[in-house]
């Protein structure tokens, strides 16, 4: 058991236990905090695989931006454990069945896959930012640019949805003022 393996087990236990915390805790804020801890553990795994760029982007994008917005929304909704709506039996059964089917699919996929015993530890430097950038901009320029256009259109869409329509309340107010 070398240092790599010790770190691997610590991170794995951390990731799985905090992922369980996400689904088991009743308070949504606690779930979010557990999810953040999960992201950190996964980022640790990325670092062990020598994919530093992926690790830090995982933290910036998921832990730093998306989870902040999650917290933001949950805080504004002011959910409490005792106010949580009770779901009907039908929904519960549907959840159990669909979850079970997903579990079955994953189990079947895992059964067929082979796990290579040896993992190239720090020998591969694919995940370092220099190689990643070169690969991205030399071999995969077109998909990269197309995906950025997709992001742009999503941003514009969000702006269009969020924009108020000015014509709605102005005519109603003007007779009162006069």
């Amino acid at each position: 058991m070398d240092l790599f393996e010790i770190l691997f087990w610590i991170l794995t236990i951390g990731a799985i236990s905090s992922a369980l915390g996400v689904i088991l805790s009743r308070n949504p804020i606690n779930s979010v905090i557990c999810l953040i801890a999960t992201f950190f553990a996964i980022s640790g795994h990325y670092v062990l695989l020598n994919a530093q760029f992926l690790a830090v982007v995982n933290i910036i994008v998921y832990a730093g931006a998306i989870m902040v917005l999650f917290l933001f929304v949950i805080m504004l909704m002011n959910l409490n454990a005792d106010v949580e709506p009770q779901k009907s039996r039908l929904v519960q059964f549907a959840g159990i069945i669909s979850g079970g089917i997903l579990f079955l699919v994953i189990l079947a996929a895992l059964r067929d896959s082979k796990i290579n015993g040896t993992l190239e530890k720090s020998a591969n430097s694919v995940g370092l930012i220099e190689n990643l950038g070169k690969t991205l901009f030399q071999n995969y320029v077109l998909p990269f640019e197309i995906s950025s256009v997709l992001f742009l259109s999503a941003m514009i869409g969000a702006m269009v949805i969020g924009k108020k329509e000015p014509s709605n309340d102005l005519p109603e107010r003007s007779p009162n003022q006069n």
Binding site: V56, A65, F72, I129, E130
Partner: protein, 355 residues
């Protein structure tokens, strides 16, 4: 077998460095509180703290001692764990960035090169972004867990402010990255060696003046310092996210703010003002013993940091606070387009010069 694999000298060196940096950060943060009160006093034609020690130099100790012995109050309706977690996370994220800042030139002792940087990772600047984006959790969790309307409003303000200004900050640094071509802070500092080379300044400030300006404004906003201290705006929110805190938990919040200021001054000095480089350092390296050269580099770096901290304080006691819509307008409608234009110009010039 495991104990043989670990490079013990390396571990001891790093632990020693971490301890020293931690102590220096805490010390500077403590004396920054004293400095802030003195600067405020000078600007308002008062004397400032003068009772504890000469020039009131023992004032930080008195304040710290007072905070330690205050009664600790946790509100009855607060979520206890998160209430305690808030200030702890704020402090941890404040201290985390110090790990990647190169504090001085590396030197050799007994055939072993010791660098004054805890971790030279090749994603240094992205690491800073990551930590900056985590910094808001301490405020959000603390503000929410207090179960107080003002605290909640303040934490929501803090979150939206920090998300808005992170964008402009990131884009302003992309322009810098185009020139440096590396994300490692150590390499960025080495590129700014000396002060003058090849007919131009080596410091990045002279190559990226607009980028530095944008970064500076965003740093003020990320630090929640005046004129951007909307989250703890006394007149509207009654101290904001740390309203319900008392004793050392309040102390951690107040202290972490000064540590943040110290660390962000260090980041700015590293990225734009040459870090530990200073004019005429080659002459010193050639004529002085090694320890003197290293010491002079560290001193130059700390002089730059303290100059930035004084600048932060001057601004705080000069400018009034923004209104919230003005803050958002400045972030989204001025700084982000400005940063984008800066990025375009930098890209064009770099292409033209054939770098």
């Amino acid at each position: 077998m495991l104990l043989m694999q670990i490079d013990w000298l390396f571990l001891i060196e790093k632990i020693g460095l971490i301890t020293i940096i931690l102590l220096i950060s805490l010390g500077i943060a403590a004396y920054a509180t004293w400095g802030e009160r003195k600067v405020a006093a000078v600007m308002q034609d008062r004397i400032g703290p003068a009772r504890a020690g000469i020039f009131g130099l023992l004032q930080p100790l008195a304040d710290g001692g007072k905070l330690f012995f205050k009664e600790e109050i946790i509100p009855q309706s607060a979520s206890k764990i998160i209430f305690v977690l808030g200030p702890a996370m704020f402090m941890v994220t404040a201290l985390m960035t110090s790990a990647i800042i190169p504090w001085g030139p590396s030197f050799e002792v007994g055939g072993r090169i010791i660098s004054l940087q805890v971790a030279d990772i090749n994603i240094g600047i992205l690491f800073i972004f990551g930590v900056v984006s985590l910094g808001v959790y301490g405020i959000m969790l603390g503000g929410w867990a207090s179960n107080n309307k003002y605290s909640l409003l303040s934490s929501i303000r803090a979150a939206s402010q920090s998300i808005s200004y992170e964008l402009a900050m990131g884009i302003s640094l992309i322009a810098l990255l185009m020139l440096t071509g590396t994300l490692s802070l150590h390499d960025i500092v080495e590129q700014q060696h000396g002060f003058w080379a090849d007919g131009y300044f080596t410091w990045n400030f002279f190559k990226q003046p607009l980028g530095f300006f944008i970064f500076l404004v965003c740093a003020f906003a990320e630090l929640n310092r005046a004129p951007f201290d909307l989250p703890e705006c006394e007149s509207e929110l009654n101290m904001g996210f740390h309203l319900e805190y008392s004793s050392m938990k309040l102390g951690l919040y107040l202290f972490a703010e000064y540590i943040n200021m110290f660390i962000s001054s260090a980041v700015m000095a590293t990225l734009f003002f040459g870090g530990y480089n200073y004019p005429g350092m080659d002459w010193v390296a050639a004529h002085a013993p090694q320890w003197l050269f290293v010491l002079s580099g560290v001193t130059a770096f700390f002089i730059k940091i303290i100059a930035f901290i004084l600048f932060f304080m001057l601004i705080r006691w000069t400018l009034p606070r923004f209104r919230y819509d003005q803050l958002m307008k400045l972030g989204w409608k001025s700084l982000i387009p400005l940063a984008l234009i800066n990025m375009l110009i930098t890209g064009g010039v770099a292409l033209w010069l054939g770098k």
